[in-house]
């Protein structure tokens, strides 16, 4: 057991946790948080692979590291976009829940004019 | 390197780490929000200050030392202002209740 393996275990656990939150939590904001958690778990896996590829005097393989930086930027852009969508949904309907297929019909009235 | 800066570093960093512990204990044990805020600022000022002080003999002059001192000054600035902001917020919160 070394430090790389420790972080190598941390990554999958974060992916599992993020996926769990994404499935079970009904609030979209919490789903966005869970999705970000899932993303960072994946990035950690890349980081572990990069650390294993340490060579040529570098602490890690720079190619996966650069991929992670691109990933963080894109994840941020997606998060900002998702939050804006969510706030707009709230402005329009006064609620911020996805239609969960509730049979009692408590979901938002859908009168499309 | 002679032993004198070593001893100085060890003492200063140990004292700084102690203040971090004190700050945490205060944050956990103090009875209300405003006194807890008081504990927080101790860790900011003294804990980090002593650690930066202890690290100074180990870094290269002048840029390494300049960066370390900037880190401390920046946290002084933000720490004191954040304390004020949170205190104001807590007071308004209590006024609403």
């Amino acid at each position: 057991m070394n430090a790389v393996m420790l972080f190598g275990l941390c990554g999958p656990v974060l992916v599992g946790l993020g996926l769990f939150g994404l499935i079970t939590n009904p609030q979209p904001l919490r789903k966005i948080l869970a999705f970000n958690l899932l993303g960072t778990g994946t990035f950690l896996l890349f980081g572990v692979i990069a650390r294993r590829g340490a060579a040529a005097g570098l602490g890690g393989d720079p190619v996966p590291q650069a991929l992670v930086i691109t990933g963080i930027v894109v994840a941020f852009a997606a998060t900002a976009m998702a939050i804006a969508l969510l706030l707009r949904l709230f402005q329009e309907t006064g609620q911020a829940a996805l239609d969960s297929g509730d049979p009692n019909g408590t979901s938002a009235p859908t009168d499309v004019s | 390197m002679t032993a004198v800066p070593y001893i100085f570093t060890v003492i200063a960093i140990s004292a700084g780490a102690f203040f971090f512990l004190a700050g945490t204990v205060g944050l956990l044990r103090f009875p209300d929000t405003l006194t807890r805020l008081h504990a927080l600022t101790k860790a900011d000022n003294l804990g980090l200050g002593l650690i930066v002080f202890g690290l100074l003999p180990l870094v290269e002059w002048p840029f390494g030392a300049f960066k370390l001192i900037s880190v401390w000054l920046l946290l002084q600035l933000s720490g004191s202002i954040v304390a004020q902001l949170i205190a104001n917020f807590v007071r308004r919160e209590e006024a609403h209740e």
């Binding site: 656990v13 079970t24 609030q27 980081g47 890690g60 393989d61 720079p62 707009r88 829940a97 | -």
Partner: protein, 313 residues
């Protein structure tokens, strides 16, 4: 068992505790606060994985703009939380099982060491000197994978277009609905007068040192964005109206210059995004300078949100 391993173990335990809290916390607001702490711990994790460039990116984005957007959203949506019906027990159990299986499979993959370790580090270092850069990650981003980096910057611009287009028609081109401080608070004003000059210096330093040391355009631009947002929140400067021509020019300036350099590569070096020999570093610096500015403006506007007021003429 070395002392470094103990440090890493403490770090991982902390990271996972905070991650669990993000998922199970009752109130969204405290989950978001935990997410801010999570980003901070993650930056330390990246340092431990010898990925300082990523640590800088995570520190800038996680403790800066992302936290701010999420906190704003959580406080606006607070009143909707009461109506939420949580998932049923069978679904939770099934999801937990599924996620445990996936995590276990991933962990098994990670823990079974490959027979030959595959790495591109020697290849990267072998040709890095031709670009004139000293930071291998910057080399990968701007030389070997320049096309990806160009598209990544375009994604940020597209996200901004997407956020703006969520405004109701009558507010198109109006002023973003950033929540501005309601108390003309002297402490906040003081902070937003003292910090931005330092932040601007640090942002430029990040971009400049990025050629040879960890750092770069995105990290620098994010700091600039955070400083701009601070000034807007304190009410020292109003958010600009989004139909202001120069604002839009600034947003696309970086990607446009990068694209122009890429197209010039056809004529000067025989391929898209190829740099003529000997001119790689100056061209990359020019592109990065423009990108730093554009990213700063674009991220600030992303955080300010869609237009919610009509622009005054």
């Amino acid at each position: 068992m070395t002392i470094t391993f103990i440090f890493d173990a403490i770090l991982v335990v902390l990271l996972l505790t905070v991650a669990i809290w993000i998922i199970v916390a009752r109130a969204a607001f405290s989950a978001v606060l935990a997410f801010v702490a999570y980003g901070l711990l993650l930056a330390v994790v990246w340092v431990e994985l010898s990925a300082i460039d990523i640590a800088l990116t995570e520190a800038a984005i996680g403790s800066g703009v992302t936290g701010m957007i999420l906190l704003g959203a959580a406080s606006r949506l607070r009143e909707t939380e009461a109506a939420v019906v949580s998932a049923g027990r069978p679904l939770i159990l099934a999801a937990a099982l599924l996620c445990a299986v996936i995590a276990a499979a991933l962990a098994a993959l990670v823990l079974s060491p490959p027979s030959t370790v595959f790495t591109l580090a020697p290849e990267t270092m072998a040709h890095l000197h031709e670009s004139g850069l000293g930071n291998p990650v910057a080399g990968v981003l701007f030389v070997y994978r320049a096309f990806d980096t160009l598209l990544e910057k375009v994604v940020v611009v597209l996200a901004l277009v997407g956020v703006w287009s969520l405004a109701p028609d009558r507010f198109w081109g109006g002023i973003p609905g950033l929540q501005v401080s309601q108390q003309p608070n002297s402490v906040l004003t003081l902070l937003s007068q003292l910090l931005p000059p330092l932040g601007i210096v640090f942002g430029i330093y990040m971009f400049w040192t990025g050629a040879n040391n960890p750092g770069g355009a995105f990290q620098g631009g994010t700091v600039l964005a955070a400083m701009w947002i601070l000034v807007m929140i304190a009410g020292l400067q109003n958010p600009p109206s989004t139909n202001w021509r120069w604002l839009r020019v600034l947003v696309v300036l970086g990607p446009a210059i990068f694209l122009a350099i890429g197209l010039a590569g056809f004529g000067l070096a025989g391929a898209f995004l190829a740099y003529p020999p000997g001119y790689a570093k100056p061209l990359i610096i020019v592109a990065e300078a423009a990108l730093t500015l554009s990213i700063g403006v674009a991220l600030g506007l992303l955080a300010a949100g869609p237009p919610e007021r009509v622009a005054q003429q």
